[in-house]
């Protein structure tokens, strides 16, 4: 028998209503250790859920637990939570070293420990060399790192990241995603990453929680949503049209997709037909593999359906 670690965040029938607007509607889920992606379009309820877990707003009904404690005990719990907002929030005239030391103290660390933690965190986020420069002179990528660093400086058990790659160029985005993975794998800090960029979530997260219009659409391990499909993708170097014709003559339905051919739900016998068609069409095979689902497919598939657990 293995001991399963208790979930870090638990929502049980969580509902939040703002003056007649239902922001969260009877949402229940649990988030454990690791990196979790929180997905949903604008107004889906992502920020409301984060604000409830941080104890900034009370739920209208239901229960929210963070680190095993009710979010009504928010002040104590917040000492072990970190938050990186999406918007700008950094003091332009302060150096990163002074700002992080100050934020560590505000989180309750004694001054000497705060200074040490600030230096360590700046080193881990790649800002150590620039730590005495005023933040106002930093690039967008460096500012995003300072935002992440201030969320980590007090060594939280759990950190909320709101659109952490917003405004970053491709290289900066890669670096930020690598830092987020490092946050969990090397620092042991679990992460809830709110994003509308599915590629970022696919590449970074272990599991996802998907909201739509305040309701929970999906939650679970990322691999269950992005696993192999029953579609086979064929890519050849040349003679693609000849190959398609050869396959159709053998009764195999094919369609063009992304520079290759796809075959829906093939059984074992189809693979023989593919082999023979490749020989007949003299098409050099570059790649044949099951097609993986993308998170975008999940959104498309659930666009017109009811949220999970509801009819």
């Amino acid at each position: 028998m293995t001991d399963t670690p208790p979930p870090l965040l638990v929502a049980e029938h969580l509902t939040k209503r703002y003056r007649g607007v239902l922001a969260l509607d009877d949402v229940s889920f649990a988030i454990g250790e690791g990196i979790t992606g929180l997905l949903g379009e604008n107004g889906a309820g992502k920020s409301t859920a984060i604000r409830i877990f941080l104890g900034l707003i009370p739920p209208t009904s239901g229960t929210a637990l963070a680190l095993g404690r009710s979010t009504s005990d928010a002040l104590d719990v917040r000492a072990r939570l970190g938050y990186m907002p999406e918007h700008d929030c950094l003091p332009s005239q302060l150096s990163a070293a002074e700002f992080l030391t100050h934020m560590a103290e505000v989180s309750g660390l004694p001054p000497s420990a705060a200074r040490t933690r600030a230096a360590d965190t700046l080193r881990h986020t790649g800002l150590f060399e620039e730590r005495y420069r005023p933040i106002g002179g930093y690039s967008t990528g460096m500012k995003q790192r300072v935002k992440l660093a201030q969320a980590l400086v007090h060594d939280p058990a759990f950190v909320f990241l709101d659109e952490p790659t917003a405004g970053l160029d491709p290289a900066g985005r890669e670096e930020m995603l690598a830092l987020i993975r490092k946050t969990h794998r090397d620092f042991g800090i679990s992460v809830l990453m709110s994003s509308h960029l599915m590629a970022d979530v696919e590449r970074t997260c272990d599991r996802i929680v998907v909201f739509r219009s305040g309701r929970l659409v999906q939650s679970g391990e990322l691999t269950t949503f992005t696993g192999d499909t029953a579609t086979v993708f064929l890519e050849v170097d040349s003679n693609r049209d000849n190959l398609a014709a050869a396959l159709e003559r053998r009764g195999v339905a094919v369609s063009d997709a992304g520079g290759g051919l796809t075959i829906e739900g093939p059984d074992e016998s189809v693979y023989d037909a593919i082999r023979d068609a490749l020989v007949e069409a003299e098409a050099p095979l570059r790649r044949m593999a099951p097609r993986r689902r993308a998170l975008a497919d999940l959104f498309e598939a659930t666009a017109g359906t009811s949220p999970a657990g509801r009819s």
């Binding site: 000492a79 939570l81 002074e98 103290e105 505000v106 660390l109 620092f187």
Partner: protein, 307 residues
């Protein structure tokens, strides 16, 4: 063996010791409040910032202290040239008059300090980072108020302390001067507290309603400076009880009337103010209203603040 390992290393190699979790003491909300207070004092005085951030606050502190030094020099010169008895007859400005003389400068100083404490955090949205930590809006504003008050107390007390030390050591018999005038110390400390709480509350309240420091500063300077001649002129035209009450709205005089009550004598700036003839309880009550109400409004504005 060890030597051979050492020989293989490049000189000055820094080893990455990896991430170290923090297992030390967490001091919670109290430490957070102290941190916001400390940061407020540093922000107000430009400490840890560039030279430009220091110019205004330190210039004002220098000028306020300079006024006290000039008063000491004048008192010293008068004693030397006219003798102690002659100097006493001159009725030279002293502790009771200092706050009146320096009041406009102190109000302008408060108008510069308060926006630094509140506007920047809201404009740059840094306040959102405070409110997601173990700190409430009440904690934040209380710590910022305490920081503003500490800076204002420095500005009002430091010159008075210098003035007292100067007058004491400049006296022909310092010990005798000390025995005769020691009560001035609690008086100027209390009167300074009265002035500092009044200016801090009003200045922070104004700063709480805009995130632009310049707007807050200009509004405050205008409020303090314009109300003085406006109300004084109208009060002298109207006269009678209505004039007295109108004179109460001279914002710079509100703490000065309490200053006069504390020292038991009328200072130069309030001697012509019609409100000075009102009962002491009314003047103190009016001062308390102008100090407590802004504080409560400020608290109400921040206590439910969330990112």
């Amino acid at each position: 063996m060890a030597e051979s390992v050492q020989a293989g290393r490049a000189p000055g190699t820094v080893f990455d010791i990896g991430y170290r979790s923090y297992a030390g003491r967490r001091e919670g909300r109290g430490r957070g409040r102290i941190a916001v207070f400390k940061n407020g004092v540093r922000t107000a005085l430009g400490l840890g910032r560039g030279g430009r951030a220091k110019i205004l606050p330190w210039s004002f502190l220098a000028i306020l202290t300079g006024i006290a030094l000039i008063m000491v020099l004048i008192a010293g010169a008068a004693t030397r040239f006219a003798g102690p008895a002659g100097a006493a007859k001159m009725d030279l400005p002293s502790h009771v008059d200092y706050y009146g003389i320096a009041s406009i400068l102190l109000f302008v100083f408060a108008a510069l300090v308060a926006p630094e404490l509140l506007c920047r955090d809201r404009r740059e949205r840094t306040i959102n980072l405070y409110l997601v930590r173990p700190l409430t809006g009440t904690d934040y504003i209380a710590a910022r108020y305490a920081a503003g008050l500490a800076v204002m107390l420095t500005a009002v007390w430091l010159p008075q302390i210098i003035l007292f030390l100067g007058l004491t050591f400049d006296a022909a018999e310092p010990v005798a001067y000390l025995r005769a005038n020691w009560l001035d110390v609690p008086r100027f400390l209390l009167a300074g507290l009265v002035l500092a709480t009044f200016t801090t509350g009003l200045a922070l309240l104004t700063a709480a309603f805009t995130d632009r420091r310049a707007y807050a500063s200009v509004f405050l300077v205008g409020l303090f400076i314009i109300t003085a001649p406006f109300t004084a002129g109208l009060a002298s035209d109207i006269q009678g009880p209505a004039g007295q009450w109108l004179s109460m709205f001279n914002l710079t005089n509100i703490p000065m009337h309490v200053n006069d009550i504390i020292f038991g004598e009328v200072s130069d700036v309030t001697k012509d103010a019609p409100a000075g003839k009102l009962p002491a309880a009314v003047l103190v009550g009016w001062y308390l209203a102008w100090t407590i109400v802004p504080g409560l409004v400020l608290w109400a504005r921040y206590r439910r603040l969330s990112p």
